[in-house]
Symmetry: C2
């Protein structure tokens, strides 16, 4: 085991690299050239103008104000300054509640850390087990549970601490759940009018030979519900979307050539027609692109007509809108038809949150798809090492020699040889781990969830399970996951907690290092935004042709719930598991939570741009995973203690998981409805207030086009900017609806009250 | 293991006893004296008159018509004659669907039996493993899987059969689920107007200082819902119920003495006032009872006023009725208030199905109560043998000598000694097993379910688990449940199926005998109704004072879902587990299903009286347990095969439980909503039809008193017969609402269309 000094060195190194990151960030963010990298959120809400447009050339690129550099850490108080309500207004409830997860970590672990150091540290320290054993040990081990002799009465202190930390954690969790549920209801109650409040997503509309889907939906809901207003059917417009995308690309080129020509009138710009302009006939670029754009415009118009009129491209899915929130709430929460697989109703997601592709999957397929993904995910989690090992074998010198003998000459060069030997085997695993979140997101998409927020939640669950099995258990019990699976299957039920429990204290130093690398330096790296920084400047230099391109080169990014939340959860798990066993780990986790809170608060305020607003619908997942970590920590402590000849005290720990789980069920019943249902009382109240305030509101007009497929929304706008943005974003596999909030759908987070005017002004530019 | 001849003898004995029961039944049921024991249902619906009132004395007691005896089995075709629709009319949907469980058993097992005997029997029989082994074996073992040599290719036949039987079972289950769901919806759609269609049970009404519960409810629902009609608060009327019961008893005595005096005018009947009329002052009975009845009437009136006016006796619970089924369906399925633990709405049970005592338990307590019962039930299931063993030790000769030395003289008598030694130790277990269903019902009541049907379902689940652990697993792996638990905890996950799988074929003969005793003779005994027969005649002889008493002495009984369904499920489990392993067991189970179907169809038509109508709400439970049995059988087969050196074929079996479970989830999504939700389309249709038919209906008057606590219902009736019946039945712990259908609440099963007139006539008697 590492000594205290080793840890010290590692800590120093990591603190140093974290500080370097922070310092680099402090300097880079002050340069006007990087302004769009570090403050994109403000550009997007229209509250910041390009510093490049004003001042001299040097001033444009480098910040020469030396005063600014002195206060290089002043982003921290700035990040903390914005009050929570304003934050909700500025960045949405999802982001504000996401930050509360870090705060929750601090709330749970600060008292536990203090208590553990006050109680457990002396209890452990004042033993001589390790001294007697003659093994090498460090100070960390001396204050860990390993130092308590077998069968000691002192284990009662640990059991007591387990109870205290469980009770405290549950108390904080319950308070937090109540608070978040309240925030959500408050948010929904105070939210502006949004189309999703009035709208219900209806799936599996049964086919009718006499009526179109829209008519059939209209008749059904006119008969069976009150307050029916209108409906919008969903079109299968994938081909159309492709055409629109193509046209926009051509349009961009046209703009570029026009710009080029206007700068240098002497020479008409020329281009080659084939293979990215590298070969083929040379033609006049402006004429060619104009012709292309015209051709595509015609094709689009034709395709649009076809989609709208061809019954085959109409999916049996519709967004049904009602005159009142009350009626929509009712419709979303009740069963409509005798056959529970027809006329499936559910809350409509926010327009920008809709994942259009999945809307037409029939009910039966959903079961089959989820089964397939369930099995596939099981194999992915436990057996992913097998193909990777296989690839690694192939990527070895021997493997290449066998498969491709003709490469023999190249790989015998000593540089190439050492590269292959040293680098290639590891790269397969690295690549896999990098693409893993994308794979999990694809799996969730295949499962058929209809909104991006749901997709992210499901992908996060999968990522958490994968991390738990492969990162946490994989580190504790060395060996690949399928070896573990094999071990666990062949072990008796009471041996498994013992195996895990005994291994846990031995891995404390590993996880301390892990926390510093992943949790400290990693988070500090996050604020530097190295990748977007480089990409922005590359794009700016090579690709940016028009002002619109510069806008697009600015990649605000967003909170990636599907990767971020599982990462936090790993620290909750580590903290809860080690709180009793090796309290020395706790301060490291506290530093992570505090640092991450500052960094992400800053990022949320200045950088990230919210893709959708789910109203903190993820909280039940967060809560459930912390409960899982708690129960896991209790069971592993039980396993550990039962090997310490403290068997007579271990039974007292059995009650803990039972109590924790029943606490979970209590919370589930008490607070979860706030996340899945919409109280009628609230709906009615909002309806009544609205009716009193704006009795002449033309709701039908307001809702008419709210749930139009993004490609059709362009019809009304002269320049296709919205559509363009929307389609462009569809390429990005993981974040399909990026920057939707710039679209025509209203959202409370988009326009922060005061900035509405500037926003409009910005849009008109 | 038992030989075929042993089984033959056992079968002969059990067939004989079953035949004796059937014969006795055939003779006894023809005697006019027993008419009320064997045909109470017809008395209750008013279609049968007392044969004792007509004909000579001998004819009244003994049936002398010899022709009747010849056709002693003619109850079987008679029981089958009634078509299902008429049966639903006559005995309710619950009973009709309950019978379908037996039919389901036949549908599943007849093809499986045929196939198993056609395929597996020859495959197993044509081996010589047992012959070679030199062990004693019987013909049963020869056609069981034990006869197949280790590592044989023939196990593929068993795997194939496992697939075929799983597919067939799932197919039948799916058809049946669809059919039952359809029957339920049909039943609800065609049902007459019932109060529960318009009514919602609202719990946890928040206290209001300014308003009464009723006012508060009225205001809340007038504001937040449409079509609110009226509400009825729930009173805590336990003391009142006690007084009413006392008064009715005195009234009965008064009737009796009046009858006695009218027969013999020469002597005023006298009675003693204390301790059941055994001691105390001797007074004139008629005067005394008249005075008592008057005193109690006054007390009741006072108490009734107190209950109605004292705010403390009003519980925060109300039955809220709406003008339309549509509005009720909406209110029951949505959340009303921001705080999801206030204004909890749920379907109102049928009035006679309400379990009044549980209506006022606040939400928080429900979690706590369920936790307590969960833990208690765990200990009951696994550790019930400990107190029983303790009692058995006390009940031994030595135990009694130690505890009560003064009894030494008595227990040294050789007769008493042998009685204690032979009988007492076993009696503790017997008594426990007899009272077990009551204990489980009490547990369910403590959990706080609000309707009798829910209580019976929950008690059935508990009884099934208990039977599975203690009867099934307990027989397979000898030893008490806590020994098994210990074994399983100390065994690895892949050893457990092996342990069970290997033990299963060895216990085939035991379960064959079990099936014959419990399933054949037991069911045949059910039709004889020995206990009600004896009790009826005893009551008739000693207690029956008035005509009303004779009515009461007639104990129709009812289907006890909480004990009956778990028993059937045990046979499903046995059948599915042994179908592949020892097909010889299957015919015995088929006989059980067929016999039980005939017997219970007869009993439901002629004897049992439905207590409540839940609309077959129990089917999801039935379905779920068969799925569990299926998965269990697959896993145990997997365990067995993995010990047979057929490891290479075993992996094919792993897919089966996965597929079965996903089939289960498919069914759950597809059909379960029919049992938990009420489609709005249906509700609207019924409303529309009703409005067109009876536009002048005074629904408010109809619903006004529907959900009045039974003790208040007596207010309007001159003689308190209804109340009396209702209260009397409250004593019976297990079947609290017995014979409620004679009360004033309407129910579709009570009045079978044609017999309405006779029914009314009967009520007027």
């Amino acid at each position: 085991m590492a000594t205290l000094a080793d840890i010290g060195v590692a800590a120093a190194l990591n603190i140093l690299s974290a500080l370097i990151f922070l310092l680099a960030f402090a300097i880079l963010r002050l340069q006007p050239l990087n302004d769009r990298v570090y403050f994109p959120k403000w550009y997007l809400v229209g509250l910041r103008n390009d510093p490049l447009k004003s001042g001299g050339f040097v001033k444009k690129v480098v910040n020469l104000d030396w005063k600014a550099y002195i206060r290089f850490l002043n982003w921290v108080p700035a990040a903390l300054k914005m009050p929570e309500l304003e934050l909700i207004d500025h960045a949405g409830l999802d982001s504000a509640v996401y930050l509360r997860i870090y705060l929750l970590g601090l709330k749970i672990f600060i008292p536990i850390t203090l208590l553990a150091f006050a109680v457990l540290a002396p209890v452990n320290w004042t033993n001589k087990t390790l001294k007697k054993s003659g093994l090498t040990y460090s100070a960390i081990d001396k204050i860990s549970i390993s130092n308590v002799p077998l069968g000691s009465e002192r284990f009662w202190a640990h059991i007591l601490m387990a109870y205290v930390s469980t009770v405290w954690t549950c108390y904080v969790l319950q308070k937090e759940y109540a608070k978040v549920a309240d925030m959500r209801l408050q948010f929904l109650a105070s939210a502006e009018r949004r189309p999703d409040q009035f709208t219900v997503l209806v799936r599996n509309v049964p086919p009718d030979t006499d009526e179109s889907v829209s008519e059939s939906v209209e008749h059904f809901f006119l008969v069976n519900t009150d307050h029916y207003l209108t409906n919008q059917v969903v079109y299968n417009a994938n081909k159309l979307a492709k055409l629109v995308k193509e046209k926009n690309s051509k349009q961009n080129w046209l703009d570029y050539y026009n710009l080029k020509y206007s700068r240098n009138k002497s020479k008409r710009p020329m281009m080659k027609t084939r293979f990215l302009g590298l070969c083929g006939e040379k033609v006049d670029a402006i004429n060619h692109q104009t012709a292309e754009v015209e051709r595509l415009s015609k094709e689009i118009a034709a395709e649009r007509e076809r989609v709208k009129n061809d019954p085959k491209s109409i999916m049996p899915v519709a967004f049904v809108s009602f005159k009142t929130r009350w009626a929509a709430a009712i419709c979303a929460q009740t069963q409509q038809s005798r056959n529970p697989t027809l006329w499936l109703t559910d809350w409509a997601p926010e327009p920008r949150d809709v994942y259009w592709k999945n809307l037409a999957i029939p009910y039966v397929y959903l079961t089959v798809r989820r089964l397939i993904i369930g099995v596939a995910f099981f194999f992915l989690t436990f057996f992913f090492m097998i193909p990777i090992t296989f690839v690694q074998t192939l990527a070895s010198i021997e493997g290449i020699r066998k498969i491709a003998p003709f490469l023999k000459v190249i790989i015998d060069i000593s540089f190439v040889k050492s590269f292959i030997q040293g680098f290639l085997p590891g790269i397969a695993l690295k690549i896999f781990l990098i693409v893993l979140p994308r794979i999990l997101m694809l799996m969730s998409k295949f499962e058929g969830w209809g909104s991006i927020s749901a997709l992210e939640r499901k992908a996060a669950s999968k990522y958490y399970i994968f991390n738990f099995v492969n990162v946490f258990l994989g580190s504790i019990i060395a060996g690949a996951a399928f070896d573990q699976l094999n071990t666990f299957i062949h072990q008796s039920a009471n041996e498994i907690p013992k195996t895990i429990g005994v291994a846990i204290p031995m891995k404390a130093t590993f996880f301390i290092t892990y926390t510093m690398v992943d949790g400290w330096a990693g988070i500090a790296g996050e604020i530097l935004r190295l990748k977007p920084l480089i990409l922005f400047h590359l794009k700016n230099f090579f690709l940016v042709k028009t002002e619109r391109d510069r806008e697009k080169a600015m990649d605000a990014g967003s909170l990636n719930f599907n990767t971020g939340e599982p990462q936090i959860q790993l620290y909750f798990l580590l903290g809860l598991v080690y709180a009793i066993v090796t309290p020395f780990l706790l301060p490291f986790i506290l530093v992570f939570f505090a640092l991450a809170y500052f960094v992400f608060r800053h990022q949320i305020i200045n950088v990230y741009h919210q893709e959708y607003e789910s109203g903190a619908a993820f909280w039940p997942d967060v809560h459930g995973r912390i409960i899982f970590a708690l129960v896991f920590s209790q069971i592993s402590l039980l396993g550990l203690l039962s090997t310490k000849r403290a068997a007579q005290s271990a039974p007292f720990l059995i009650a803990l998981p039972v109590l924790t789980l029943s606490f979970h069920y209590f919370c589930k019943g008490r607070y979860e409805p706030a996340f899945t249902r919409y109280p009628l009382q609230e709906a009615k109240r909002k309806d009544t207030i609205e009716q009193a305030k704006e009795s002449k509101l033309n709701l039908k007009y307001y809702l008419q086009k709210a749930y139009l497929h993004p490609v059709f929304r362009g019809d009304d706008v002269d320049d296709n900017e919205d559509v363009n943005d929307k389609l462009e974003s569809n390429d990005v596999e993981l974040i399909p609806m990026k920057r939707h909030s710039r679209g025509s759908t209203p959202g409370p987070s988009r326009i922060s009250g005061a900035s509405q005017e500037e926003m409009l002004q910005h849009q008109e530019e």
